[in-house]
Structures are given as structure tokens and as C-alpha cells.
């Protein structure tokens, strides 16, 4: 019999974890997040430097791929969802700081009680009949995106005893190239659960971790309506346009 893992065990592992790669991305081999143990490659990645690689281009999306309502997660049902109404907005940029235009941004999240509308989420918190928790939009010519939603709740998971995820919104992003693909999570400032969470702390560099945390932006709050958060996203990876300019 192995002893159940405690938060103290995870805290110790987090303190002793080696620094991740300089990019700021998590090392895929990050044992404090137990599900990673059997799901990361042990062989080194093979470097591809082919200017004709298909991955330097990528899928394109257009107005037919979204509807206007998709970006407002509070208007997808007959009634208003429970919770604190918020807007989350920002820009999607490439690593040269140029806007990523007309690309698909997808989000999904738990409801205000910390429950996902997913059959396998068995957290005994209520579902909200007026909240699905899925949104999508296209970035505009400045790379801007915006969602209206409710602030998700924290939720428990079974990584170790008494493990809780800080409140977060899952984001999926496309750039001009498949190499720029990004799936990540946005967190809320000042969450007391940050130090306990092995997923957030898989990003071992403090400054890189801060790039996952939105800023409360009072100028984006709307009187008697919603609280505003700003979160800018920078996609990694080369793109064909970058290759052309580099020639």
C-alpha cells in the first residue's frame, strides 16, 4: 500500500522540481502533476528546420465558423447564469509582437460553482441550467478578442488529497502557422490557491507564470454590469511570414 499523496508531498516536490525550459513552457515531464508521468516522451524531440514544412502554414477560419453569440457565454440559454459577470479581453500577438488577425480563439470553463458541464465531472457542486461554459470568437485586425462570461469557481481534483485547481478559463488559440498552436489556461489575479497547484507551477519561472494571470482592469469594468479583466497572449513558434521576412 502506498500512502495517499498529501499537499505537503506535492509542496516538497514543487520546491525540488528542476527549472523548466528557457521558453517558459512547462517541461512535459513534471511529476508533481501525476497524470504527466506516463504521458510525456522520453526521447528528445527532433528538430525540423525545413522552410517548406507544412506546419509553417496552418488552418484558416472565417466568419462562417462562428456566430456573434458565441463570444457571450451569458446569453446562450433562456436565463442568466449564476455568478459574477465578467469580460475577458486582450490581444493575440506573435513572438515578434505582431497581431494575429482573424484567427480562432476558443474558451471553456467551469461554472460559478466550479462544475463543468461534462459527464465525467463528478464534483458535487450544482450544474447551472443557464451556463454551458463554451465560447469562441475570431480575433480582429488588431488581434483583439473579447468574451463575456461569469467568473469560474475553483474545483477539486484527485492529483493528491485535498487538491484544488485555482479558478481558470481554458483557452485554445491558432496563429498563422500550425507551429504557433497554443492551448493554455488563464488565471485570476491574487488567487490564494496558486502556490498549491502543480499545473500552474509546472511553469517554474515566476515571470512566465505571471503571463498566465489576467489583470483586473477597472477601465474595462462596466458600471452596474460587469468586472473587466485584460489578458494578452503571445504565441510561440515560427510562421511562414516570419520565414519570408527572414530571407
Amino acid at each position: 500500500m502506498t500512502q495517499p499523496l498529501t499537499q505537503a508531498d506535492i509542496d516538497r516536490e514543487l520546491r525540488e522540481a528542476p527549472a523548466g525550459p528557457p521558453s517558459g513552457h512547462p517541461d512535459r515531464d513534471f511529476a508533481p502533476y501525476r497524470s504527466s508521468v506516463l504521458r510525456h516522451p522520453k526521447q528528445p524531440l527532433i528538430s525540423v528546420k525545413d522552410p517548406d514544412a507544412a506546419e509553417l502554414s496552418g488552418p484558416v477560419f472565417g466568419v462562417t465558423d462562428v456566430t456573434a453569440l458565441d463570444a457571450d457565454l451569458t446569453r446562450q440559454h433562456p436565463g442568466e447564469p449564476l455568478g459574477e459577470r465578467i469580460t475577458v479581453q486582450g490581444r493575440v500577438l506573435d513572438r515578434d509582437g505582431r497581431p494575429v488577425r482573424g484567427q480562432l480563439v476558443e474558451v471553456w470553463q467551469a461554472n460559478a460553482s466550479g462544475r463543468y458541464r461534462h459527464q465525467r465531472d463528478d464534483h458535487p457542486a450544482p450544474l447551472d441550467p443557464n451556463f454551458t461554459g463554451v465560447g469562441r470568437c475570431l480575433t480582429d485586425d488588431e488581434g483583439r478578442y473579447a468574451f463575456t462570461t461569469i467568473k469560474p469557481g475553483a474545483y477539486p481534483w484527485r492529483n493528491h488529497v485535498n487538491a484544488w485547481r485555482p479558478a481558470h478559463i481554458h483557452f485554445s488559440l491558432f496563429g498563422a502557422a500550425f507551429t504557433q498552436r497554443l492551448v493554455t489556461q488563464m488565471y485570476f489575479p491574487g488567487d490564494p490557491l496558486f502556490p498549491y497547484d502543480p499545473i500552474l507551477n509546472s511553469v517554474t519561472d515566476e515571470r512566465a507564470r505571471q503571463r498566465l494571470v489576467a489583470a483586473y482592469a477597472h477601465e474595462l469594468s462596466q458600471p452596474e454590469w460587469s468586472l473587466g479583466y485584460r489578458w494578452d497572449i503571445v504565441l510561440d513558434g515560427p510562421a511562414a511570414t516570419w520565414m519570408e521576412e527572414g530571407r
Binding site: S23, R39, L56, S57, V60, T64, D65, A110, H170, D236
Partner: protein
């Protein structure tokens, strides 16, 4: 600029990211259509029932132009009505099923390979691999003993098998594009 770090797709993307027809790049009646299918396995050899695979590929002539309309929406109720099958969008998205299995219906890419991006619960940063359907000069740059992990096995006319091993003796070759 410093990139935004990756985080795992987690276990609960299933009602958000997959969409009807996500694995059907080819129109059902396309006589040039092929089926590519396989499993995703973890380092213990167990199937991964909560992986999400994305595919990006050239059309049959080798052109990488893509087209919008992969998840075309009904303007009345917002539901996905999907591709109309005339333009080739080049993009597919398939979640593995309870057996860790996925299936893609597409056309043979004119440039020889389909690009694959792998997401999964437990995977903190996605992985890229490629599906090749025959010999290719690129494969010479891969260690010979691992080359076969990038090659689909032809099962019968129009049906190709490609398994992905995230770890272990059969570990698939994954790429870094820098």
C-alpha cells in the same frame, strides 16, 4: 516577446473543442477519400481515452491553402453544420474514444504527410508528429530505428493505420519546430 506558456488541455474539453464532422476532411462521396485510424497509448501501453488530435494537411495536389468553413455554423441556432465538402479546409480535430481510438477521413496529401498535433490530459505542452504514407527524403533525417513510428501501415486499399505512443519502447517521433 516572451510566449504565453502552455498548459494541459485537461480532462473536460470534450464539450468545447470536438465538433461534428471534425474528422471528415473529405466529402463522403469523394472517390479519392482515404481512412486513417489508430490508437493513442501511454507509457504503460494503455490506451489514452482523453487525447485530442488535430490534423493539418495539404490537399491532393500538395497545396497548403486551407479554407475557412471547417466548423461552419447555422446562423439560426449556432449549431455546427460543418464543411460543405467543396473547399478543402485541410484541418481536422478528433478526440480519442473510450478505447483510445481515432479515425480521420481525408484525401492523400499531395506533399506526402499529414501533420498531427497531440493534446491530452496529463500532457502539459502539445506534441507534433507526422503521418507519412511512403518513403520520403525527410525520413532519412530521423534515426533509422525510429523511422517506422512516422509511417502509416496500409491495411487495405484506402485504409491506413497509425498508432501514437506518447512514451515507451514504441515511442513516436515528435518534432520541435523552434
Amino acid at each position: 516577446m516572451n510566449p504565453t506558456p502552455s498548459q494541459t488541455v485537461g480532462p473536460f474539453y470534450g464539450y468545447a473543442l470536438p465538433f461534428p464532422g471534425g474528422g471528415d476532411l473529405a466529402a463522403p462521396a469523394d472517390p479519392a477519400g482515404i481512412t486513417v485510424h489508430g490508437y493513442v497509448h501511454d507509457g504503460a501501453g494503455d490506451p489514452v481515452p482523453d487525447a485530442l488530435l488535430e490534423f493539418w494537411q495539404a490537399d491532393a495536389s500538395g497545396e497548403l491553402r486551407g479554407a475557412p468553413g471547417t466548423l461552419r455554423r447555422d446562423l439560426v441556432d449556432g449549431s455546427v453544420i460543418g464543411r460543405h465538402g467543396v473547399d478543402f479546409t485541410g484541418f481536422g480535430r478528433v478526440a480519442t474514444d473510450a478505447d483510445g481510438r481515432w479515425t480521420l477521413r481525408t484525401v492523400m496529401p499531395g506533399n506526402g504527410y499529414i501533420s498531427v498535433c497531440v493534446f491530452a490530459r496529463g500532457l502539459l505542452h502539445h506534441l507534433f508528429t507526422r503521418i507519412y504514407f511512403g518513403q520520403d527524403p525527410f525520413l532519412d533525417t530521423v534515426p533509422p530505428q525510429r523511422r517506422h513510428t512516422l509511417m502509416a501501415v496500409r491495411e487495405r486499399e484506402g485504409v491506413h493505420r497509425f498508432d501514437i505512443h506518447l512514451q515507451g519502447e514504441k515511442e513516436t517521433v515528435f518534432f520541435d519546430f523552434g
